[in-house]
């Protein structure tokens, strides 16, 4: 196992003439929580899209676990390799119950390979982690916004991912819920897991992130701890300057 979970190398993504990501390189290590921040249009979500296989880059590559070039893999292959992502807009299956979500997340395949008790155990365990034990039999469509966010985290968590990508996990949450989410994220840290968080809430980022990457116009503007980010002139310029 390499230390670097994800290596993004010279990545360029274009939409028409617009460069969403422009020759971007960065490395994310196992065991860390990396926050990716930046103003709107900086390329944060597009970066996650490339990593999870939704968008194909024009140039560059993404290496997983130091060895696998996943740039051209399909979304599902990437997911099966252990890279899971929570979307910016809570994406849950409105017609399924909470437990069904976790079951789908825990074990990939049209037929479950886990035996029933093992699966039930795993579901209960995950539900406990994300605090949705009470809601197990409810339909996802009926959940509140915060619960949907946690359900989606639970769903991507259920498979024990090596790389966990969280796109704005606290957008639209109350302070209390944000606090709870922050604790949840920190609790998910493991030495063999990398966590990438895209977020606008600076306080939240400060609470969870080991390191912060600031993107601007598709490039890395700055990389370092949150303190340093706050002190950096260029970053302040980008966020407040205009």
């Amino acid at each position: 196992m390499s230390l670097t979970a994800l290596l993004v190398d010279g990545l360029t993504v274009r939409f028409g003439s617009f460069r969403a990501i422009d020759d971007l390189s960065l490395a994310i290590d196992y065991g860390e929580v990396r926050a990716v921040i930046g103003p709107n249009g900086a390329g944060k979500t597009t970066l996650l899209d490339v990593i999870s296989g939704i968008t194909r880059p024009k140039q560059g590559r993404v290496l997983f676990d130091g060895a696998h070039d996943i740039t051209r893999w399909s979304e599902s292959a990437i997911a099966r390799a252990g890279l899971r992502r929570k979307f910016q807009k809570p994406s849950v299956f409105e017609g399924l119950t909470v437990r069904q979500h976790i079951a789908i997340g825990a074990d990939v395949g049209f037929r479950s390979r886990l035996d029933a008790p093992a699966l039930e155990d795993r579901i209960s365990e995950v539900l406990e982690t994300v605090g949705l034990t009470e809601q197990g039999e409810r339909l996802a469509g009926e959940l509140g916004h915060g619960h949907k966010q946690w359900l989606e985290i639970g769903m991507v968590l259920a498979s024990d991912p090596r790389v966990l990508m969280l796109d704005e996990p606290v957008a639209g949450l109350t302070d209390e819920e944000t606090e709870r989410t922050a604790r949840l994220v920190r609790a998910l840290v493991r030495p063999d897991r990398a966590i990438v968080v895209v977020e606008h809430d600076m306080d939240f980022v400060e609470r969870i992130a080991d390191r912060v990457t600031v993107l601007h116009e598709g490039r890395t503007l700055f990389e370092g701890s949150m303190d340093k980010v706050r002190a950096d002139k260029a970053v302040v310029e980008v966020y407040l300057g205009r």
């Binding site: 939409f15 028409g16 969403a20 979500t45």
Partner: protein, 538 residues
Amino acid sequence: MTFRHLPTFLAGLLVSAVLATPGAAAALDRAAVVAGLCGNAGQMFEAAAALTATAATGSDEDRAWALALPRALIEKTLACDAAGAVLGNGRLDAVSRVVREPAPDARAPVLSLKNRAVFEQADAALALRSTPDAGARAAALRMLERRPATIPEGLLDAAAARESDPALKAQIEGLAQTAALNASDPTARLRAIGRIAENPSRRALAQMAELTRDPAYATNADFRAAIDAATRRIERGIAIGDVLAALYNGLSFASILFMAAIGLAIIFGLMGVINLAQGELIMIGAYVTWMVQQGLRAVAPALLDWYLILAIPVAFVVTAAIGIALEALLLRHLYKRPLMSLLATWAVSLFLVNLVRVVFGTQNMQFETPFYVSGGVPVIGDFIFTWNRMFAIAFAVVTLALTWAIVRKTPLGLNIRAVTQNRDMAACIGIPTRSVDRMAFGLGSGLAGLAGLALSPIYSVNPQMGQNFIIDSFMVVVLGGVGTIAGTVVAALGIGQINVLIEPLWGAVAAKVIVLLMIIAFLQWRPEGLFAVKGRRK
């Protein structure tokens, strides 16, 4: 176009007729001619021959007398009775030209097809010589041009000598030269060959092919060279004509597709709503056009010819209003459920078809054909520039220009574009997306109404007519790429042209099948169509 069996037949008869009335002096036996007109088919035929001969060689008085007769027969205004015949509405005796009433049992003779041809000929020959109206003489000349080989000798020369209009005179002389193809004078023949080659057509080619069997072709080098040159020239002309015809047919089909699709493209692009009632809005546009026509007929008959133009605002406003009502009552509730809106609009289409059926009946509506959408001009080879198609093309071009102007230059257009690109963002900056939807739906529906108007001179107008367009127009919209006018234009042109190119090879059905399969295959490869805005995809 030919009427090939007639020339020899008729020519022989004419010769005998001319021989029977030697010189211009011999007076026409008027009573016998009128009797012939009221006789059996054979007698009618001979009477027509006599009339044609009179046109060529008769006296001025006879010609003036004869002028009205063939037309009366063609128009069935000649009433035959025991005492002879009475002409038309003037109640003039056909022979004496004294006013008299026809007998109660008078009958109007019906022309057989064969006789219709010779009477058309006689009418044209007489009109060319004797009508004071230059326009009518020109029309007569065009009729004679259809069958140059049957023109009696001397007619054209005599007509040319008397012709006062210089342009018409030149045309008559030109035709005279053409008609001299089988003359004895070799220079006249060569000139005729040259003349024929000036108007290339398949018929001309067949004439040339026939001449290669002429003894002169083998013996006379000049003759042979003239024929070969003419053949080459005609073949080139035909080739050009075929290309032009294919382009024109393709363009006209494309303009129809475009008209049918543009409204749909706006609606689909903006709201993602598939409006299956679009074809019915086209149909209603055509019915509105019909009602405008009927209104004009009752109120202002003088303007009747211009109903197609006057109906433009009416058709647009009525269908736009229907569209707006549809949006407000039904589709407004369905924007989150595009597939349901598809079913809902299908229900609307079912309703509209049957409503129109109950109100107007199922028969084809009757439209006047104003001069600007009737007939056509032969251009080169077999290419005929037909005015109703030209009307559709011109209409499509104007619609395109107006649509483009609305979308690009007006505040509504700006809003439409904004909402098409990003609904949420547009709503955020204060664009009233709901009312933009409604206006755009009205615009799209109004354009469908205009399509109905433009199609009414081309297709039968009945409650079913809209259903012919729906799949084709969808294909145009998806192929073009959602929400782009340019895409719609290019897709319509492409589909129209390819269709027209395949059609002569494998037939109309195969053309349609192949084109549709091509589109389906293309969309599998590029689901977003020809012109699509790329963006981050979810």
